[in-house]
Symmetry: C2
Subunit: 369 residues, 2 copies
DNA sequence: TTGCACAAAGAAAACGCTTTCATTCTAATG
DNA sequence: CATTAGAATGAAAGCGTTTTCTTTGTGCAA
């Protein structure tokens, strides 16, 4: 128990860790000595001639320490370049200020926008973001580690389609949880969802300005995908509101790819049903495929065919004609999820909340201005 | 010092934390009790009737414990759903198996591909990835926290242009470091760089098949951007190799945007210099802008103008005509950086390494097949 | 002067783990 | 049978914090 700080470790050398950004320390950069030179609270305490408790208080509850002392401690901290050990803090506080986010795949504009929004918001609120594409591994042990359980303070999970294993893993995680893209308030979880209704309705209304209801189509992505399903339903509902119940061939499902869109449009063109039609696509890439196939079939866009994409990715503004698209605020969704999660972590009282983000049509060239 | 485990905390209840994924625990999901029910090594020890040392050994050095005992401990671990506390482990091991990656901006296909590759590789090797768009904050205190120093075992920093503050922060960080996109072996750091030479040379060769050397242009991004500079140099060198030293107007710099590309091409078209020219763009978006402007000016691509992009993003395959582009293995770069970093962390001996990833031309429609 | 509230600071416990060192037990060796 | 090497296990220190509990010091009312 004789734990004399200065005896326990080498006496802290003056300016031991004072960096000047110079080049003379190149060699020590990556070798073990350099990184072992961790300055602890004891070193600071010794240098400032106070106890470690006081040092801690200076950093956490400054009002409990006299200005004179605080000044001395602060100076020592600066001199030594002291940074509190994150693990020790975490061990006591049971918090790391690290948030996890599990997305199906980091690929593409869509998810990168989500990450971007989440990261920015987390950073703003003093948290860090640990990403993790989905744990597909079958081995439970391996999966368990995959989300850094025990390290993260909370987790955002994006659920784009039914996924039992992931769901299971989430429930096992003893951390605050926010679900993205699926309303799970019923299961007691905070959720953030995209309200596809508004945007889809606007799109349909827009199409109906120049296209007959029976010539309107929704060309979606995978039939299991939550968003595609919601968008298809919103599409159907908007048509019904205008007195037309869409037939089964008016809402079709495939994949979120250019090829699927092009394939569908090609078939339609061959049977002469592409002309004077209006299409709401499940995403921008599908829309682009449809435009390509239309071009190949000699169907002019927007003259003879109106096309509207979904997501309003950068792609929409880059292609010609510019693609009308339903804007989906992915960055905002990421940010909202972060806010919800942090609120849940910091004051764990409120009952589950579902935040619903609006979508809206952005009209550009492809649907005829 | 009387630290009788079973007295210290509530005696571990049978099946206390046995989840079945059912819905009946909805209420306890997000409240504090649920997450406080952390099972510690003491609980496992008590249940298996061994000391905590033995439990630890079962997990870390199984060869030191008898099969009979191990079995009992393993059972207890499973029953209780025990997950070792990451902070306590970190405090001892001085390692979190979390890697940081600092990129200028998460935006866009380019960086998301990088993240994707890095994340996949990190996961494969049993590490986690903590992302961080660059710390732009001027306040040093704030910046310091921004990279989660003390928590991460190592850091990958993407350097796309000279950036003193970031550089400074990196050097101050007492963690293993890998630099992406800039060769810093001279500064004692492992690096991963894209070898723009090969791809640019191939592109130039390809252009020269149908275009005179004095009609070849490089339309780059920002003049400060390392990649743009490297690509411009590679372009110039390839032309020189063919006996033509490019004039100053043959390599120009602007921004990584469609607008810049379009603006440049428009000017060129107006002065009649776009026809029969060949352009290597700094990225795909610039290339696309050039194609648009060419179309507007009645210059046919690839008939009268060859265009080659850079990066080979998804965009290249989505537009028409398909964009020839220099493929840049961003995912591989991310993975390579992770590998280098982990190697550095785990056996900190080798001298600084610079891994150079090749680029290569992918010929598509825009440069005339 | 005595007592007392209150501010300031220190001592030490606790967080959950790993690991060294010490102890016990078994079985093989002389 | 006595000794001892070696395997299996336990006790406890230590990692770097935060925080509770104590102690010390100081000014002020009685």
């Amino acid at each position: 128990m004789a734990r004399t700080p200065s005896a326990r470790r080498r006496a802290p050398v003056e300016h031991a860790v004072q960096y000047d950004g110079g080049v003379h320390e190149e060699h020590s950069r990556n070798d073990s000595e350099a990184s072992k030179a961790a300055v602890s609270i004891h070193d600071v305490a010794a240098r400032a001639q106070v106890s470690i408790a006081t040092v801690s208080r200076v950093m956490n509850t400054p009002q409990l320490v006299s200005p004179r002392t605080a000044e001395r401690v602060l100076a020592a901290i600066k001199d030594l370049g002291y940074v509190p050990n994150a693990f020790a803090k975490g061990l006591i506080n049971r918090a790391s200020r690290v948030l996890g986010i599990a997305v199906p795949d980091i690929h593409g504009e869509f998810y990168s926008e989500l990450l971007r929004g989440a990261d920015a918001e987390a950073r703003k609120l003093g948290y860090h973001l640990l990403i993790s594409s989905e744990a597909h591994s079958a081995d439970e042990q391996e999966r368990r580690g995959s989300l850094a359980f025990g390290l993260i303070d909370g987790l955002i999970v994006m659920m784009t389609e039914p996924n039992r294993p992931l769901w299971q893993e989430m429930r096992d995680a003893a951390v605050p949880l926010v679900v993205l893209d699926a309303d799970e308030t019923a299961a007691g979880l905070d959720s953030v969802i995209i309200d596809n209704t508004l945007g889809a309705a606007e799109a349909v209304e827009h199409l109906l300005e120049s296209v007959k209801p029976e010539r309107c189509f929704f060309v979606g992505g995978p039939a299991e995908n939550f968003d595609t399903v919601a968008r298809a339903q919103a599409f159907a509902k908007a048509l019904e509101k205008r007195g037309h119940k869409p037939g089964p061939e008016q809402t079709v499902f495939g994949a979120y790819t250019l090829e699927w869109g092009a394939g569908w449009a090609k078939k339609m063109a061959e049977s002469g049903r592409l002309k004077n039609a209006g299409v709401l696509a499940g995403n921008d890439e599908i829309a682009l495929g449809i435009m390509h196939a239309a071009e190949d079939a000699g169907v002019r866009v927007p003259g003879e065919l109106k096309v509207i994409g979904f997501d309003d990715t950068r792609l929409a503004m880059l292609v010609r004609p510019n693609l009308s698209s339903v804007r989906v605020p992915m960055a905002e969704a990421g940010a909202a999820a972060i806010r919800l999660l942090i609120k849940r972590i910091e004051r764990r009282t409120t009952s589950p909340v579902c935040e619903r983000l609006p979508t809206g049509l952005v009209v550009r060239g492809s649907s005829g201005a």
